[in-house]
Symmetry: C2
Subunit: 210 residues, 2 copies
């Protein structure tokens, strides 16, 4: 099947959304917690969180103007902090449900049945049921003029995770946390490890290191 | 386990790289094919490709200045095109091996044993062994000053995929292509679908749609 740019342009809108969202490969599944100036919590599932750098520890995410939670972006600008919480297989349906268009004053935590958990370091709420939680300080955003989306860049201020899953070399076994992956707009997946591979060097095949 | 920003700063460099790279969740696994002005092919595994928008069909990726393939970035600027090829479970070890520091004149295709495939639409090479291939026109790059990384933004010009995996609504079943996911710097995973969930609406639980 050979799909050209012209074919994509002429696709029905919803078909195109499913098709193009599937192309980049597997995506992370995270719940982003934030709070407004009046203390109202907001929770939104986001599949566009990605690693940006280890030193300083930076994390990025894309927020779309029309589909995505505008409340989240406004809260981040207002409070300066947000949380990123891994979605696991026990809560993926509740996590998905946060994408419904609730009214601004409504807390998605209560509507979907997840529990806010507070931090001593910042005002944004964690998701108690998540097994890997990241507190993030908002650094900057960059607008992508081509489609009006925003890249949100944050610096990690704390990480909450069970220490049994942090390996000797710093690697975190997120599969054992049952963290899920997303494909397209709406499919959720568990994972099954193939292998960890050694640091690649020319003229030597990679070795399995677990 | 409670890890603070200060703990992360004081981690040994390699430990920190493993730790922070694990935080964002599962990542896509793609091989990026490019070509220089002399016709030399370059191939690099990149775990930072992400969806940016469906209309126009945009795809983003992060290239790091020190660890990642500088040849790829230069080739993209020079030729204006690149390819993104899903890594599947049959080729993940060869894909990983492309991250070894080969000399600039060396083709990673030949070194790791993958086959370049040409397009009529653009000069960049596809990976024949990949089951989902995307041709991309380079639009722009944005430098993230906080750490010197680059966000590369491209528009999709063609997609090559077996039509049996494209569902009625446009969703592509990438799990059936055996596309893999990455966690941390070096772990590869197959996936096992939990469910597709219906579009979320307030006061209605999501339904399984497959």
């Amino acid at each position: 099947m050979h799909v050209t740019a012209e074919d994509i342009v002429s696709m029905e809108q919803r078909y195109r959304a499913h098709f193009v969202n599937s192309l980049s490969g597997f995506k992370s599944a995270n719940l982003v917690g934030s709070v407004d100036n009046a203390g109202n919590n907001n929770l939104a599932i986001i599949s566009s969180v990605f690693h940006l750098g280890a030193n300083p520890p930076l994390i990025g995410m894309i927020i779309r103007p029309h589909t995505a939670p505008r409340g989240t972006f406004e809260n981040i600008l207002a409070s300066g902090f947000y949380t990123i919480n891994h979605v696991n297989a026990d809560i993926f349906e509740k996590a998905h449900q946060t994408s419904a268009r609730y009214r601004e004053s409504v807390s998605e935590f209560r509507e979907v049945g997840l529990t806010p958990e507070s931090s001593k370091r910042h005002p944004a709420p964690y998701v108690q049921e998540s097994r890997l939680k990241i507190g993030v300080f908002f650094c900057e955003h960059k607008t992508i003029e081509l489609n009006g989306t925003n890249l949100i860049i944050g610096e990690i201020v704390e990480v909450l995770v069970d220490d049994s899953v942090v390996k000797e070399d710093g690697f975190i076994d997120i599969e054992s946390l049952d963290t899920v992956a997303v494909s397209g707009l709406d499919r959720y997946h568990q994972t099954k490890a193939l292998a960890r591979l050694s640091y690649a060097k020319p003229h030597r095949n990679p070795e399995r290191v677990d």
